[in-house]
């Protein structure tokens, strides 16, 4: 039982360390695209480690296993990439300097962020809906 407690304490400490690293990266890095790395990677690792610790505690020490932690983990792991991609898209749209540095798409359609109407028109979904 002591070993389980040591493992739980270590997992909690590792989780809080990674949360701290994520926030430190957010505060210290010089540029938004670099700032995106800290929170979206390290905080999911930190939260995941903390939820494993909590699951282990309620399963091994208290004796009633719960699946709430799995729900939170699943939800966070699904939503973290979506959030990062939305922030990066909005950043590319708002900054002219970033827009000029973008490479060509190599297709007839430009980047979806920059000409949304055209990209929407030619996308698979809109075409299948609009043509009977």
């Amino acid at each position: 039982m002591v070993i389980v407690e040591v493992v739980i304490s270590l997992l909690v400490l590792v989780g809080s360390f990674f949360l701290f690293v994520g926030s430190l990266g957010l505060a210290k890095l010089p540029d938004l695209m670099r700032r995106l790395h800290g929170p979206t990677k390290a905080t999911t690792l930190g939260i995941g480690s903390m939820l494993i610790a909590s699951m282990l505690y309620f399963w091994a020490v208290e004796g009633n296993p719960s699946i709430h932690e799995l729900l939170i983990t699943l939800f966070l792991f699904l939503t973290a990439p979506v959030t990062a991609q939305m922030i990066a898209k909005a950043h590319i749209l708002r900054e002219t300097r970033e827009r000029k540095a973008l490479p060509d798409t190599g297709r007839s359609v430009g980047w979806a962020t920059l000409d949304p109407a055209e990209a929407d028109e030619r996308s698979e979904v809109t075409r299948t809906i609009s043509t009977p």
């Binding site: 701290f20 938004l32 905080t43 903390m50 309620f58 922030i87 950043h91």
Partner: protein
Amino acid sequence: MIDIACIIATATIAVASLLTLYRLTRGPGVLDRILALDTLVINTIGLIVVIGLWFRTTMYFETALLFAMVGFVTTVALCKYLLRGNIIE
């Protein structure tokens, strides 16, 4: 032993939240502030999980789940507003 680890973790998360608040107030662009709010929500979820472990109760997990959902929807709505000038088209 778990209690001591929870106290240290709470202190670390408090410092992390202060760093996030620094970026929230100083951030040069509006997207930096959105990212800082998202990170603050994730820090809060970690804090809620640690407090639930500290008080030995499973009552707080619903709160953490609600925070995760509301934080995600907030970030996506703010980014969508900046992208298209509208949230629900």
